[in-house]
């Protein structure tokens, strides 16, 4: 049997460099030090990275193609798996796009709950990124502290949604279910734990000589470069530009909340670390406001075009049974048209471009994934740095294979 496997990528560089001092080194796609399946082909002079060629796509699974053959509702488990560190934000961003096409108004309670849970997810996502970046620099204690904290959040979200990571909790026009008893009480306990653990991380890392030497002025990106390469989220904010969709074009309940948009100075790894740490503090501040402002009332919009009828009614009356059947089998009829709707995901602008022809299934679903766009600038951040900095710099971009490769 022929065991020769063709190379899936064509390197941008010749396999043998022109200069004897240089060497081509391939890192990945499943290198133990990079979290995320990515291949980086580097040309080195000693330990210095002269050029880098970044390849992604190893986790491509045809998300957009698959979406074209399911009903609008059935996509929710798929969008969960885009950025699997903050699945709820994906759910809500997708639902918001469909709701815009259908012109559905969500209820005030749903709006506030989505805001709250989005911020909660953002904390989990930032924790994942910071923890992995610290572990790659050898800070095992900090990693374990952060993972402990993240697990409190995951377990707590499992109490609400039934799953730790992939929640399938958003619904077009509402949410899967309301908060269980005591959920908000536990939420406050987790937020107190957050303050304890994050305080420890600040104590361990912020003034740590090794940490600063590895992060300061490493993987630098200028503001002009960040804009030209379409960077959003913490990547853009670390360069000093306070662009945040939650503040700039408020959606959900963000217009009612008080929060700051933290920015960096140099756009280096340290700034990206610090922007994420500060954003988590702001998220906690926002969550507490959401709890105070949380209105009573239904979580689902009163709109039979997309919201499933109450299960008790499905068993008791024929109209509800038919509505349920039609929504499951045919899917909600989404008026023909196209929409681009974006939310501030944990990594940056998470946009959904949807095209409907009026059917129960989408004609086209495109996800504008921040990770993918950020991979386009990764080579610039790696070039000129040390080989050992490839891993922390890559970590600070927080490339999530699920959304990058789709």
């Amino acid at each position: 049997m022929d065991m020769k496997i063709p190379n899936p990528v064509r390197s941008a560089f010749a396999p043998t460099p022109a200069d004897d001092d240089r060497v081509i080194v391939n890192i990945g796609p499943s290198h133990p030090a990079t979290h995320g399946t990515v291949q980086i082909i580097t040309e080195l002079d000693g330990e210095k990275v002269l050029r880098a060629d970044v390849h992604c796509g190893y986790l491509h699974r045809g998300f957009e193609k698959e979406c074209e053959s399911h009903t609008w509702h059935n996509l929710i488990p798929y969008v969960d798996r885009l950025n699997y560190c903050s699945g709820l934000i994906n759910d809500f961003a997708y639902c918001q796009a469909v709701e815009a096409l259908m012109q559905v108004q969500i209820t005030p309670r749903c709006r506030m709950l989505r805001t709250l849970l989005g911020e909660y997810s953002r904390i989990a996502d930032h924790i994942t990124c910071v923890a992995a970046a610290l572990m790659e620099l050898g800070a095992m204690t900090a990693f374990l502290y952060l993972m402990t904290l993240r697990d409190y959040i995951y377990e707590h979200l499992a109490d609400l949604t039934g799953a730790r990571v992939t929640y399938s909790y958003g619904r077009i026009g509402g949410l899967a279910r309301d908060l269980p008893n005591g959920w908000l009480k536990r939420l406050e306990q987790v937020l107190v734990e957050y303050e304890t653990y994050i305080g420890r991380i600040h104590g361990l890392m912020d003034h740590n000589r090794i940490f600063i030497d590895r992060m300061r002025r490493v993987g630098m990106l200028s503001q002009a470069q960040a804009i030209a390469y379409g960077c959003t989220g913490p990547m853009l904010r670390s360069t000093g530009l306070a662009r945040d969709l939650r503040r700039d074009t408020p959606y959900l309940a963000y217009a009612d909340l008080d929060f700051e948009v933290p920015v960096g100075i140099l756009g280096d790894n340290y700034d990206r670390y610090f922007v994420r740490m500060r954003e988590m503090d702001e998220s906690v501040h926002m969550i507490r406001q959401c709890v105070d402002l949380l209105p009573a009332g239904p979580i689902n919009a009163d709109d039979p075009r997309c919201v499933l009828p109450d299960k008790k009614l499905v068993y008791r009356e024929i109209e509800s049974l038919i509505t349920h059947f039609k929504l499951i089998i045919d899917g909600p009829r989404v008026p023909a048209g196209e929409v681009y709707s974006a939310q501030e995901g944990a990594n940056g602008e998470l946009g959904f471009y949807l095209v409907s022809t009026g059917e129960g299934q989408p004609y086209r679903v495109h996800c504008r994934a921040p990770s993918f766009v950020h991979m386009g600038v990764a080579h610039l951040m790696l070039q000129g740095g040390q080989l050992a900095d490839v891993v922390p710099t890559f970590g600070s971009i927080n490339m999530i294979g699920g959304e990058c490769d789709r």
Partner: protein
Amino acid sequence: MDANLLERIRHRLTPAAAELPVAHGIPVLALGASQWLDTARTLRDEFGFDMLLDVTAVDWPGQPLRFEVVAHLYSTSDLLRLRLKSRVSESAPVIASLVPLYASAAFIERECHDMFGISFAGNADLRPILLYEGFVGHPLRKDYPKRREQPLVRYRQA
């Protein structure tokens, strides 16, 4: 949304200052493929659309110009979004690349080339990015069967 700015864009860029349709909050400029780069340059230089967020396409088989190329621009100063749309044919799916204006186009257009087979003239690096070398066809075209597999490594025979 800044109505004044939209008005100026309408006067500057639509033929005979026609209506500028707004689809769910985003103004849409439909262009001929030949105006793609020039219009984007005007939008960037005169109207401050400094960020290219996304380039993708929609396949409409059976229509004379089969592929609709869609780009989303953003102005970080005016916080305004804009959608550019253009059509290219199945026989010559070529449109100008936005790489001379936006560095982000280099990567984003590679994906669109992978998925739809649209060539971006002026993008020097259209190697596969989400797919792999040797992949035949363009999976997001409507005539690409969902179940077609092209494994690089052969499946083990049971």
